[in-house]
Amino acid sequence: MLNGYGGSILRVNLTTGKISKEPTPPEVARDFIGGRGFGIYFLTKEVPKGTDPLGPENKLIISSGPLSGMLVAGGGKCDWTTKSPLTGGYASASLGGLFTAEMKYAGIDSIILEGISPKPVYLFIDDNKIELRDAAPYWGKGTFEVEKEFKEKFGEEYQIAVIGPGGENGVAFAHINHDYGRQAGRGGVGTVMGAKKVKAIVVHGTKSVPVADVDAYRQAGMALYKACKEAEGLKEWTRYGTTIVVSWCDEVGALPTRNFSAGSFEDGKNLYGTVMREQIVITDKGCFGCPCPCGKYSSMKRYGTHVEGPEYETIGMLGSNLGFTNIEDVAQANLLCDDLGIDTISAGGVIAWAIEAYTKGILTKADTDGLELSWGNPQAVFALIEKIAKKQGFGALLADGVKKAAQKVGKGSEKFAIHVKGMEQSAYATHNATAMLISYMTCDVGAHHNRAWAITYDLQVGRDKVVPEKVARVIWLQNFRPMFDVLGACRLQWVELGIDRKLYEPLLQAITGIPRTWEDLEAVGNRIWNLTRLYWARENEGFGRAWDMPSPRFYEEPPQSGATAGQITRLEDVNRLLDMYYEQRGWDANGMPTPATIEKLNLGAFVS
């Protein structure tokens, strides 16, 4: 019995229909712990080099962690790992809500989807009854409708993860929706699920999760809740969630505006968290076990609709980045993406590129199916979102992501395709914020902010400083923060409430029976980080330094307005940051882990 774990790995071969369970290997639990750790373990072990992300040999690995579903403040995250159809590299997306807990109660640590089903199916898990069922009645439907139908059919206790038409149609940045508003969002994890013809996963479990020491577990779990409840700022964080930073990012020049051409949006006041709270928010919606629910469930009177959100990222990418001035329009764009099943961040990134290309005359009405693209034009954006999800007309170009769209169109539009490694940059403008810049450049899935968020640090230390301390800080954050994804818990309780992270140590030990400090966990994090780097190199011919470079917008085009007007990072500093980063990571000048680093981290088996 593996304390703290569901106990089994569920394998679903969609080609043959064979479903099998094997006990979770204790040495994998020991070395990779869970969640994202299990994801990279199975990805590197079982998905052969050169696999087509949309082909039968790719796998989609969904993993809970030892803290999932337990008396843990924020024990509600599962990881979705695969080879990315968007970037051709490592994809790992984190899903909140209630799905991970239900997996644990069904006795499952990882679900591994293999092969391709000949017909649309959904995976049905009800304790030990596990079946592939016909999904023909649901194929083509939006995520909200399908989740509602399944809840009515099976009951409220059943948890649903579902793709929309975006995933079915192969949009490169399709996502998976759950609990009417939580997503496994980035990197095309929904695309892979759609390629495998899996419409949804339904899970229900009634088992209890074994723990090593029940009394110590209860005590440590209660202590963590107490610390969260007594945290200063709990009330404010809960009130606004991630929207708390919209006004501030605008003030400091981090709010992406008109395709990252600036970091402040002069017409953005109606996008602020305080305005949003007043105008559309009706419920603070929480993920499993969370004492500081950041979900803002909203009602848009203008459209007669509801959505969970928009989050900061969506307010940035589908708001200020597109020149939207009204929060209800952002919420509606958010809803369309959620229902159709495409990532709001990537959608905002590629649409912003298209608008800029249109305003520059690089794209014309002949290219856009007659759509007039302009900043602050919600109707055009709503139409684009539908076209993208259906891969219809102009939408088909955008559905491949901004890197490929810009490559196809050319005419200099590559210069304002804002991405790293093919993943559209998320909502922090980095014209002059060097810690955040190197964070985006080196993030292991592409330009995503969640590994190392460093904006306040940039402001404290000096935003344009290019010093080893900044790089060291980013590296530490990259080794530390993703460990929450490995443990199967949310990091925002620590991140936003400023609680003492040491509180997690006795809790983890009481659950698993294995003593681990954060230093131990960061060592695992460092190992995983290097393994994902080696994975990128294995899968991408010529992978190296050039792949870490940011969009030239951040070293060539100072904003004309806003808090960072006239400010830009110099290309030589971009390179200096990268050099320092490689050196501190133990990588060579091309960004490859050196043989000494590989040996020190015991990763030799992977490279051979």
Binding site: R218, G286, C290
Partner: protein, 129 residues
Amino acid sequence: MRLYVDNAKCSGCRACLVACSLNLFRESNPKKAALTLLPHFPAPGVYEMKVCTQCGDCARVCPTEAIKLNERGAYYVDYDECNLCEACVPECPESVMFVRTELANHAWKCDLCGDCVAVCGTGALWIAD
């Protein structure tokens, strides 16, 4: 003394359910909790909780007198005395009298331990007269 809930503050996080099952069964299994969460989504988009009001209707109808008063003045199920007749279940006006034989071989209910209040981050739950 009894448990109260303000539905407007409930975020649907289920921390209360886990704390409750840990108290009643020493297990982490929200399906073995003694309060009920009813999500109303996608519309109107609110949560509703059902909690025991300590009305005593269950105790009055129990033929084996398995439902007793504890040191907190709250009704609880003495598991040894419960014979699973289920007479209590339909009596409960809040539907928080639980019998699920696949999960336990006795009924269970709220014993006013207060752990749900302790873990509720939004203050949706509290105990008062």
